[in-house]
Amino acid sequence: MTLRFVLNGAKTELDAHPMARLLDVLREECALTGSKEGCGEGECGACTVLVNGEPVCSCIIPVAHVEGAAVLTIEGLGGDHPLQHHFMNEVGAQCGICTPGMIMAAMALGPAPTLEDVKTALAGNLCRCTGYAAIYRAVMKWRGLEAPPSMVAE
């Protein structure tokens, strides 16, 4: 069937099976490979995108669900977003496979998050490399917030 939605700010129309996974449509039909598949069951969050501003796992969303919605993927942030730079500078990305999903989940945070807010917002995104501390440092720095003293790299 023909689907219409807004993808990274642009009106998009494409033919897809309504039950196709949003992740597959993004990666294979739209050539947006920044969203990753880590588990295919909505557990790891590597495929996180924003649908109408809410983070969802695109591996368990049928594409029909986004008919008429606004979908934002990591590519939609461009290549120069401050949070992207903080992730690299703070070593919030090591191997990088969880990073696009992690960044998209962080994008949905409210204006002045506490460390607890950040932890809760990212609880659905698994990272096996960092132990998360560097990810918190990246997100807190992006929001102009002080990380707790023990978290500050010497």
Binding site: C39, G96, I97, C98, A123, G131, Y132
Partner: protein, 701 residues
């Protein structure tokens, strides 16, 4: 400003954060097929028949008869077939390969395999098939045990652990002019080359392996990618088209390697004053169905089994056996997390038996410069066991907390540990690793097979070359590992990429500096053209190792760590919540402090998962919880604050004083947590210490 010692901008660029970095599954080639692996559904037996009950038009089908030369993955032994011929030794063993251009069609078709089932064996203690034994003998342990004032015994068990790199395994084999190229998520491109040469023989000489951006490894992409690459290559040769094989999470968890389960028995003799006089240690590791790397995992496990303690009489006996589970393999720590868990929990029990403070017992027995290890290695000034212990105790106010938390649901526990850097014994000498530095029009290019798998290889190597050559960091580029274009710097394993490969690069840079004769790389290049420097690793000349007796200098140097875990118990649910983990670690000197810190934080989190959460449930020889839904690794909410302290004690044989770091942080968290649980009254002798284990387990008086 020097590059080394500063957290300079990473060579990765920003691609990992923008989605532009290309992992194996992000790459396609024209005409590419998808590959699928048909696997055994029994743990033991023989194949009676394989039936393809579908129209095979458009499919490429490969079985063992398509193997060009030798049907064996070439590792330590050549016992594991790429594709089963008749005998099934474990669940999910590869039998047949299919390729098709349409993935849905590929996975929809039925393949029926009929078997004659055999009697599987899953209990390593019952296995008679011992395929490697190790004995480390120092002094006279039986006499010393007989004479000891007190002997403390204990048995400790650790389970499987799954790597859970977030990117599952995947490769693409691409036929190219006169040969074949393999693009893939691999730690060790030259291991893949070795395996493919064995598979293909002389008929297909032009094989190259290109590492794609790799979404985590932790040892899990050390040996298994050789298997997958072999599969993809056979499908590509038969079809004449590129073939991509990407495992989904379930296949990756059920079919690929895990950390070896271990059973470690200790009998330790001590004086009443708390001096360790005899250590008798028995190490049993479950190798699974094939040899893979188990002999070397056992070796590292045994060498670390006595812990960082001085003792004149030590006997460590190790063995690894076959069972009918998928083979176990490399995982960060490589045998040491199992044995160091055992010895560190045992040390707390000895202290308890003596009525002595466990920190004091460690203080009295910790290795010092001049002491000898179990293999008889005399430690040099780069031994820091006491330094990390004292700093961890001081920083955490350990003694006060121990007292203060008594009778509450909170407690603190401590572990002291060490980890040998680089290959064991004569390993580095035998490996003959090489590194290459190439002059470019504006600087130099590093050309090594060492892979960036998240730990920062590219950046850290570039920093070393920058300072050793005296040119701007921006003028150093790092080649993507392509086995046809880079030097074989050995596998990216064993905490060797900084200390060993970094050292060769440092020497390459010194040689290049001399040959430039005061000219900048650009000046030299425009006047004289290209220049390449290649050097081989030379281990310290004092290293002596007897592989038959297992005696001598097991490692050129060791990293040292002391972890303090502070935990809180929910008395109703038996859930243990780590509150804070203090990780004091000495690894020579950090080349890139932020990356080094990331290794410690990440390794510590993996260690906490190993301690409390990560339980592989095996049913009939297969992982029954092979999903992230019910094999749980630490999330943000499970991971406590990790207080990292990086202490320096430069190692003269490493680049700019650096030792290896990658594995050290994995060794400490589990015993620290379990020693904290002991303070809460739980006599835990195995991990993971799940609520189920704690609720059913024995309590201390």
């Amino acid at each position: 400003m020097s590059a080394v010692g500063n957290s300079v901008a990473r060579k990765d660029g920003i691609g990992k954060a923008t989605g532009a970095a290309r992992y194996a599954d992000d790459i396609t080639f024209p005409g590419m097929l998808h590959g699928r692996t048909i696997r055994s559904t029994i743990p033991c037996g023989r194949i009676r028949s394989v039936r393809l009950d579908f129209d095979t038009t458009g499919f490429t089908v490969v079985d063992h008869r398509d193997v060009p030369a030798r049907n064996a993955v070439d590792l330590i032994a050549q016992d594991q077939p790429f594709l089963v011929e008749q005998e099934i030794r474990h669940m999910a063993e590869p039998i047949l390969l299919l390729a098709h251009e349409n993935r849905e069609r590929l996975y929809a078709v039925p393949v029926e395999v009929e078997y004659d089932e055999g009697e599987p064996l899953f209990d390593p203690e019952k296995s008679q098939q011992v395929f490697k034994t190790i004995d480390i003998v120092k002094g006279d342990t039986s006499s010393a045990l007989a004479d000891a004032e007190l002997v403390v015994e204990g048995t400790y068990r650790t389970g499987h652990q799954e790597h859970v790199y977030i990117e599952p395994n995947g490769v693409i084999a691409v036929p190219e002019d006169g040969g074949i190229a393999i693009y893939g998520s691999v730690q060790c491109p030259f291991y893949v080359i070795k395996a493919l040469r064995c598979l293909l023989g002389d008929a297909h000489p032009n094989v190259r392996v290109i590492q794609t951006e790799t979404g985590g490894g932790f040892g899990g992409k050390e040996e298994y990618p050789s298997m997958i690459a072999g599969h993809a290559v056979m499908l590509a040769l038969k079809s004449g088209r590129p073939v991509k094989i990407i495992y989904d999470r379930a296949e990756d968890m059920v079919a690929t390697t895990k950390r070896h389960p271990a059973i470690v028995r200790h009998r330790t003799g001590v004086t009443r004053a708390g001096r360790i006089v005899a250590m008798d240690v028995d190490v049993l590791m479950d190798g699974g169905a094939y040899v893979t790397l188990s002999p070397t995992v056992l070796s590292r496990g045994c060498i670390h089994a006595a812990g960082p303690y001085r003792c004149d009489n030590v006997h460590i006996h190790g063995r690894t056996v076959f069972t009918n589970t998928p083979p176990n393999g490399a995982f960060r720590g490589f045998g040491a997390p199992q044995t160091e868990f055992a010895v560190e929990v045992h040390i707390d029990r000895i202290a308890e038996a003596l009525g002595m403070d466990a920190v004091e017992l460690r203080r009295r027995n910790a290795l010092r410069p001049g002491d000898t290890t179990a293999t008889g290695q005399t430690l040099r000034d780069d031994c820091s066991a006491l330094m990390v212990l004292e700093e961890a105790v001081r920083r955490t106010d350990f003694d006060r907390k121990r007292e203060e938390y008594k009778g509450s649901n909170r407690s603190v526990g401590l572990s002291l540990f060490y980890h040998g850097a680089g290959f064991t014994g004569a390993g580095e000498r035998n490996l003959k690793s090489k590194a290459r530095l190439e002059l470019t029009a504006g600087g130099v290019r590093i050309a090594v097979g060492s892979t960036e798998i998240g730990q920062g290889t590219r950046t850290m190597h570039a920093q070393i070359v920058t300072d050793a050559l005296g040119i701007p960091y921006e003028d150093v580029e790092v080649a993507q590992p392509d086995t046809s274009r880079v030097a074989d710097s050995g596998p990216t394993v064993a905490s060797r990429t900084c200390m060993v490969v970094g050292k060769i690069l440092e020497e390459c840079a010194h040689e290049m500096r001399d040959r430039l004769g005061g000219l900048s790389p650009a000046e030299y290049h425009s006047r004289h053209g290209p220049l390449t420097v290649e050097r081989m690793y030379e281990p310290p000349d004092w290293i002596e190792w007897d592989d038959a007796l297992y005696r001598g200098d097991a490692y050129a140097t060791y990293g040292w760590g002391c972890d303090v875990a502070e935990v809180e118990l929910d008395p109703d649910t038996f859930e243990v919540r780590p509150i804070r983990l203090t990780a004091v670690q000495e690894f020579g000197r950090p080349i890139h402090p932020a990356l080094a810190r990331g290794q410690i934080e990440g390794g510590t989190a993996q260690g906490l998962g190993y301690a409390l959460l990560e339980r592989v449930v095996m049913h009939n020889g297969a992982m029954a919880n092979g999903q992230l839904t019910n094999y749980t690794i630490p999330t943000t909410l499970d991971t406590p604050e990790i207080d990292v302290v990086m202490m320096e004690n430069p190692y003269p044989g490493g680049p700019f004083g650096a030792k290896g770091l990658g594995e050290l942080p994995m060794d400490g968290p589990a015993p620290a947590v379990v020693n904290a649980l002991r303070q809460l009254g739980f006599d835990v002798r195995e991990i993971p210490a799940t609520p189920e284990l704690l609720s059913a387990g024995s309590r201390l008086g």
